[in-house]
């Protein structure tokens, strides 16, 4: 018994001195913090601790379950208008009370964006919302152009987190006008309503959160969190060992054992809600015949990639879908398969003469990206495709010479519209870069998928879109990479299934420290 007590005491000891304070060693620190303009994997780590949306979801659950946040209730008062009641007594980190005006300002800075970085973000996901309007001090309305099947999903996006109007406008120039420079200044001195206040922020270097005592909900469990950029993986792992960091981010699969072998340390991880994909250029003169692209796709044994590169921990999808998408998750659809014999037949039918097919990859942007490319070249060779890797930092997705390359399709929000939808919409990024074609039929199917309020219709329409992708492929999702965090055993934290990728959620109920 004494020994048990002693070991318990020892295990808790290193944290006891700093029970309420932790340090996170992050592979990347954001260069700016503005939830509105950001949708990067780096920035996504930080917003949830400091900002709130009107509607939130229960992040412990994979299936969406909406919960009140800055709005206490909401209802559709017409098919295109949602009315929301605002929570009383909410304060911003700078002490200002949150008003209906702040909410309208935050929403309309995106919905009626003029600041170019907002414009581009609003266009791909908030285009159906022309404006938000104030009804009274506690009530606001959000208008939609068309009936919207994804109200809660889109109102809970990081991009429409609430920020203070007067504070933001006063940052530069005229204190009564929202200038572009105000939004740029805000990104260096961000203020929200969340449980952690951003005490200090050095772009690309360091962020310090402190508990916000006036938070409207359950108070933050930690007094202080320091997030420090430690870009080298070896230094990150060492910092965890030496105690300079309590949690570290982005551990590659081959480094996991370094941490798991140490009894004072542990890892937590999950398959990220993001696909590493291979894209193929439908409009390259030599790849116009879809059979060649089908063969490029069918030749790839994605399960083998998963076993070899991710120790089998990644998820290989049968179609462009994720379990996070709730009712729209369609694991039964089979859009992508491994069938080398079929690939050979298709190449023969298409009269492939052995011309070289290039596969572009960035040297380090995607974990295991180059290794996957090398394995894919071998798999292609096995069916007779003459592939060649081109390593370079330059984005080639908009080049007419592109044949194939790697890319990623993150889940920006939990719906196929938030993943496949953002990237492969008619006139979306892929089409506008000239490597993906859509026609009226595609657009019509797309419209049913995006706007129908009947889930069954949306699912059927999505299945049709996947059929189009199968017939004339422009993309192959390879896998959902497995992402890991390392931490001291005394820390009880893990990524929650209800979040978008990479969120460091340190709110009440999300993290506990043994001994505190």
């Amino acid at each position: 018994m004494f020994r048990l007590m002693l070991t318990t005491a020892l295990a808790v000891l290193p944290l006891a001195a700093t029970a309420q304070e932790i340090t996170v060693g992050a592979a990347n620190m954001a260069p700016y913090l503005d939830p509105g303009r950001d949708h990067s994997n780096v920035g996504s780590q930080f917003y949830y601790n400091s900002f709130d949306t009107l509607i939130d979801r229960d992040h412990t659950k994979l299936e969406p379950e909406w919960v009140p946040a800055l709005a206490t209730s909401w209802e559709l008062i017409s098919p295109t208008v949602m009315e929301l009641k605002l929570r009383d007594g909410v304060k911003f980190h700078n002490g200002d009370p949150m008003t209906a005006d702040d909410v309208i300002f935050s929403l309309n800075r995106m919905m009626q964006a003029t600041f170019p970085p907002y414009v581009v973000r609003a266009k791909d996901r908030l285009a159906n919302f022309p404006e938000a309007e104030k009804v009274d001090e506690n009530t606001i309305r959000i208008h939609a152009n068309r009936e919207e099947p994804l109200w809660e999903t889109l109102i809970s996006l990081q991009q429409v987190m609430i920020i203070p109007e007067a504070y933001t406008k006063a940052l530069t120039g005229d204190p009564d006008v929202a200038e572009d420079s105000d939004f740029e200044a805000f990104a260096l001195a961000p203020v929200g309503t969340g449980p952690y206040k951003i005490e200090s922020f050095q772009p690309g270097e360091k962020l310090v959160w402190t508990r916000f005592d006036d938070f409207w909900g359950e108070k933050a469990p930690l007094e202080r969190v320091n997030v420090v950029q430690i870009s080298e993986t070896a230094s990150r792992v060492t910092a965890l060992k030496t105690g300079e960091a309590d949690i570290i981010t982005n551990i590659a699969p081959d480094q996991l054992s370094l941490i798991d072998n140490d009894p004072a340390l542990k890892t937590a991880g999950s398959a990220t809600a993001l696909f590493h994909v291979m894209i193929m250029n439908q409009n390259h003169p030599k790849l116009k015949d879809p059979r060649i692209r089908q063969a490029m796709s069918l030749a790839i044994d994605r399960d083998a990639l998963n076993e070899a590169l991710w120790l089998g921990k990644a998820i290989v999808p049968s179609t462009h879908t994720m379990a996070e998408m709730g009712e729209l998750h369609q694991p039964d659809l089979v859009t992508f398969e491994y069938d080398p014999e079929r690939a050979k037949e298709l190449l023969a039918e298409a009269g492939y003469d052995g011309f070289e097919i290039t596969y572009d990859t960035a040297p380090s942007y995607y974990t295991n990206g180059v290794l996957a490319a090398q394995a894919i070249m071998e798999m292609w060779a096995a069916v007779g495709i003459n592939g060649k890797i081109v390593v370079g930092d330059k984005w080639t997705g908009n080049s007419p010479d592109l044949m194939a390359r790697n890319w990623s399709n993150p889940m920006y929000f939990a719906d196929p519209f938030g993943s496949f939808g953002v990237m492969w919409a008619p006139d979306g990024p892929s089409q506008s870069e000239g490597r993906f074609n859509t026609d009226e039929a595609y657009a019509e199917t797309w419209d049913r998928f995006r706007y129908s309020t009947d889930v069954a219709v949306r699912k059927a329409a999505y299945a049709e879109l996947m059929e189009r992708v199968k017939e004339d492929p422009a993309v192959l999702p390879l896998y959902r990479p497995f992402e890991s965090w390392g931490m001291k055993t005394a820390i009880n934290w893990a990524p929650m299934p209800g979040h978008i990728p990479y969120v460091l959620d340190f709110r009440a109920g999300s993290i506990t420290l043994a001994g505190s």
Partner: protein, 308 residues
């Protein structure tokens, strides 16, 4: 002396102009910032809008002229990423890098000059051989290997030294040694060789014949004259260190200096930060070189007189 100083100054300005131009072209060749830091999934229309917003839509020539006009008046623009003036972004990092550089130079001098003298005096005994071994080993081990091995031994295994940041004296130990390794190797060898040359000269024999103590012979007459060579080596090596060594070492030790800043800026193609960062380092290198030239001249009247 004055014409000599003018020549050094003109040479420095021309060098800086060339570096600014090369930096401008090199950053433009390496890709577009819009594609790297704004993440995936931008439409062509959105890309065009951002290119306008960040004023990347002019021709390369127009951008170059604007950059040069700004540079002359001290305006180097805003970072594409965090939209602060680059002068502020870089100066925030300057002191951390400067501290590391100073610590490394001081450490190098303290170690390399005594070692070099020992190597020269005891050139025929095992001490001299040991010194040369150390010097060759230092040459052979690149700073990043030295850094990683130290991290493994002193932090990962022994848990004696911290690896992140520049918060205390202990934080300086490993980065300083990593930065100094190659420099110590070079300077030890040069000091030894210069001392050997000088100690074989007639005036040293004269000094000994006058009955001066050996310490005085070696330090005053020997090192005093070997100093000219040593100064030039220090200058060149320190300049190289400021430019290159810090990038790797700062990344490994998360040192909040210019090297780390440049790596991050290069990854996201933050042209203004890259340009100004490289120019700042270039100014440091050129200044160190100019100082070397001048002190070389001061230390050796022959150079001063011959050149003017």
């Amino acid at each position: 002396m004055i014409p000599y100083l003018i020549r050094v100054a003109v040479k420095s300005v021309v060098t800086l102009f060339a570096i600014a131009t090369i930096t401008f072209i090199a950053t433009r060749l390496s890709g577009n910032p819009i594609d790297t830091f704004l993440g995936d999934g931008l439409t062509e229309e959105g890309r065009a809008e951002l290119i306008r917003y960040f004023q990347l839509d002019g021709s390369l020539w127009q951008q170059y002229l604007a950059f040069m006009r700004g540079a002359v008046s001290g305006e180097f623009g805003l970072s594409f990423v965090d939209r602060r003036p680059v002068t502020e972004v870089v100066s925030d990092r300057l002191w951390a890098s400067g501290q590391l550089l100073l610590a490394s130079v001081a450490f190098t001098l303290l170690v390399a000059i005594p070692l070099g003298i020992l190597g020269a005096i005891y050139r025929k005994s095992w001490i001299g051989s040991a010194v040369m071994m150390v010097a060759f080993a230092g040459y052979a081990v690149p700073s990043f290997i030295l850094a990683i091995v130290m991290v493994l031994v002193f932090s990962y295994w022994l848990n004696w030294l911290p690896v992140v940041g520049n918060g205390s004296f202990a934080h300086f130990i490993m980065p300083t040694i990593a930065m100094s390794g190659v420099l110590i190797a070079a300077l030890t060898r040069f000091t030894r060789n210069a001392m050997l040359d000088v100690l074989g000269q007639d005036f040293i024999r004269t000094a000994r014949a006058k009955g001066l103590g050996e310490a005085r012979v070696v330090l005053r007459h020997g090192l005093g004259n070997a100093g000219v060579t040593v100064i030039s080596v220090i200058g060149l090596q320190v300049a190289g260190l400021a430019a290159a060594g810090s990038v790797v070492v700062e990344s490994i030790f998360s040192w909040p200096g210019i090297g780390q800043l440049l790596v991050n800026a290069a990854l996201v193609r933050d042209y203004p930060v890259l340009q100004f960062g490289v120019i700042t380092v270039a100014v440091a290198v050129v200044a160190i070189n100019a100082l070397t030239d001048v002190s070389y001249a001061l230390a050796d009247p022959r150079i001063r007189l011959a050149r003017s």
